[in-house]
Structure formats: C-alpha cells, structure tokens
Amino acid sequence: MFEEKKYRFLIQQHKNRIYSYSLFMLKDKMDADDVTQEVMIRIWQNVDKFNVLAAKTWIMKTTNNLCIDYLRKRSVAYNRNYSISEEMEDSFGSELTEHNPFLTTHLKMIASKVKEVIQNLPDNLKSVFILYEIQGMKYREISLALDIPINSVKVYLLRARKKLQEDLKDYDTK
C-alpha cells in the first residue's frame, strides 16, 4: 500500500521531467515515449529501495542512461532526419495566442529555434545544459546523475552556453 503511494508520488513528481529530458535527448517522440515507460517501470521495480526525497538523481541517472543506450542503438542501426516534434512546438505560449497572435508567433518561433539548437548540441553538453537550465537541478545533483565530477559539470555548462550562442548566430545567418 505504502509502496503504491510512494510510486504514485514519484510518478506525479517526475513524469514530465523524464519525458521532457528524453524528448530533448532523443529528438523523437516515439523513442521518448519508450524511454519514459521504461524508466517508470524501473521506478516501480525499485520503489522500495530508494528514498523519495533523493529519488530525483536516481531517476534522472536512469533516464540519461536509457537515452544514451537508445542513441547508441540508433547510431548503429540507422540515421534519421530529425526534426522538432509537433508536440514540442505546441507546448509554447498557448495562453498568449488569443491576445497577440503576432507576438505569440514570434515568441513561438524563437522558442522552437532555441529548442532546436539545444537539441543539436553535443550529447554531453546537452544533458548538463538541460538538467541545469531547464530542469533546475543543482551542480551536485547533475554530477551524481551523470556520474561526472562537479567541475566537469561547470565546464560543460559553460561550453554549452557558448556553443548555443554560436549556433544561434549561425542559425540566424542561414
């Protein structure tokens, strides 16, 4: 009974985090769905083993490992033409549409552009950047989740920010 409650709580808390991270990393909705399901099943299988308050790191570590597995499999099997999913684009500024369609379209374009450029960052930089900037995790949590030293987290984050800026400039000139 308590395990069910714990599981429900964990899912409620982290389901969007897992899904969002997977979408960013894999750039494919179907794969993100699969990874999210797999992570949730693993949470259920291990629900009695970890502390609820410290679960975030474990969950993101599992999600990241599964995403890496998917990326490896994918690079061996086939090359896809990736594009931002429609669902990702739809998640921006729906409230503003009614008030100022021009502004909303502009904001949507910027947001989807930034998302696309983030998705195209190298995997090691991208994972740190998403966990820190979008999911609001701390250096220490990221270090534990990705199994890298805190200093590397800081370095990757700085590189990711610079690379994103450069790539956005390139994107504008295209």
């Binding site: 599981y7 969007n16 979008i134 920010r161 800026q165």
Partner: protein
C-alpha cells in the same frame, strides 16, 4: 591571458559575463559585471546577447507526458487505476514537494494541535473566584519579577557593558590611531 576572438574580452572575464547573464555567479561577480556592462560597449553587447538567450531558454517549459503513456505503464506495473487523477497523490505531492509548503503545513498542524489541547483543557476545568484571584496575584508577582530583571539588565547594559566594555576600547583605539597619526605627522615635518 587568452582573449575571446569575437569581442576582445579576456577569456575569464568573458566566462563571468556568460555566467552572470544566465543568473549565476557570486554577488561580487554580479556587481563587477554590471559595472563593466555600463562602462564597456563590447561587454554590454556580449552580456545582452547571452541574457536574451538565457531568457529564451528559461522560458522553455517542460513537455507534458501524454496520458496514454501513463495508462500503458499502469498495465505493465501496478494495475493501479487513475494514476494521473488522485486527490490523495496530488495532496501528498503538494505537501512534500516544496520545503516551504511542508514547513508551513507542519507549523499549521502543530499550532492546531496546541490550540485544540488548550481549548479542550479550558473547557474541562472550571475555576472558583478565589482561585482566579490567586492566579491573578501570582501572575502580577511573576510579571513584577520579570520587570525587575529587565530593569536590572537595562542598567547593566547602559552602565557597565556600553561604558566599560564597548566605549572604552573604542576610545582607546581612536586614541592609539590619533597618536600614530600625530607621530607620522611629526616624522614628515
């Protein structure tokens, strides 16, 4: 020292501008960078470029997991029904997710219990007029004792602590500095 190619700003300073633009960095770094941004055109350009990107990044919202995925997972795991719509789960999540809310909830629970106990106690016991008078007298006596202690503490602070323990060392220090400055002045002359 290495310089950033695009802006001719030293690399470590450039890195600090990036961090501050993204809302990181110590208070000192922030003050330093904000001052630099107001005085240096290249730094300002870099700062605002990164700040705009940071704003766009921070505005990105997490994607919402489709409900059908949750249902699929239900079948594979617990067989739990209505995983996404549980009032108890929502309440539990709300109370435990944010430390502030947890603290406030705990405080409210403690206060409620205390008040309930206090009210309950008062309802059960009735006091006679003599008892109330005696309690009033005792309370006055206790308050007069506390008043005396405060008065005594106030006198001690004014007369002993401030005069002897605070003012005197400060005076000594100032005198010492005065003597030093006088000595220096004499040496210069």
């Amino acid at each position: 020292m290495t310089q950033n190619k695009s802006s001719h700003i030293p690399e470590n300073l450039y890195n600090k501008i990036v961090s501050v633009a993204y809302g990181d960095g110590s208070l000192w770094d922030k003050l330093k960078i904000f001052y630099l941004v107001t005085t240096n055109l290249a730094a300002r350009k870099v700062f605002f470029e990164f700040r705009n990107t940071a704003k766009a990044v921070h505005d990105i919202e997490e994607d919402v997991l489709p409900a059908e995925i949750l249902k699929k997972v239900e079948q594979k795991t617990t067989g739990l029904k209505d995983l996404e719509n549980s009032f108890v789960t929502d309440l539990f999540s709300l109370l435990t997710a944010r430390p502030m809310i947890s603290t406030v909830t705990a405080a409210v629970v403690v206060i409620t219990i205390t008040i309930t106990m206090f009210i309950g106690k008062n309802n059960n016991v009735t006091y006679s007029v003599d008892e109330i008078r005696k309690a009033d007298k005792d309370a006055r006596y206790a308050l007069s004792v506390v008043n005396k202690i405060f008065a005594q503490s106030s006198i001690t602070i004014k007369e002993d602590v401030l005069k002897n323990q605070v003012s005197q060392p400060i005076n000594n220090g100032i005198n010492f500095l005065n003597n030093l400055l006088k000595g220096e002045k004499n040496e210069i002359n």
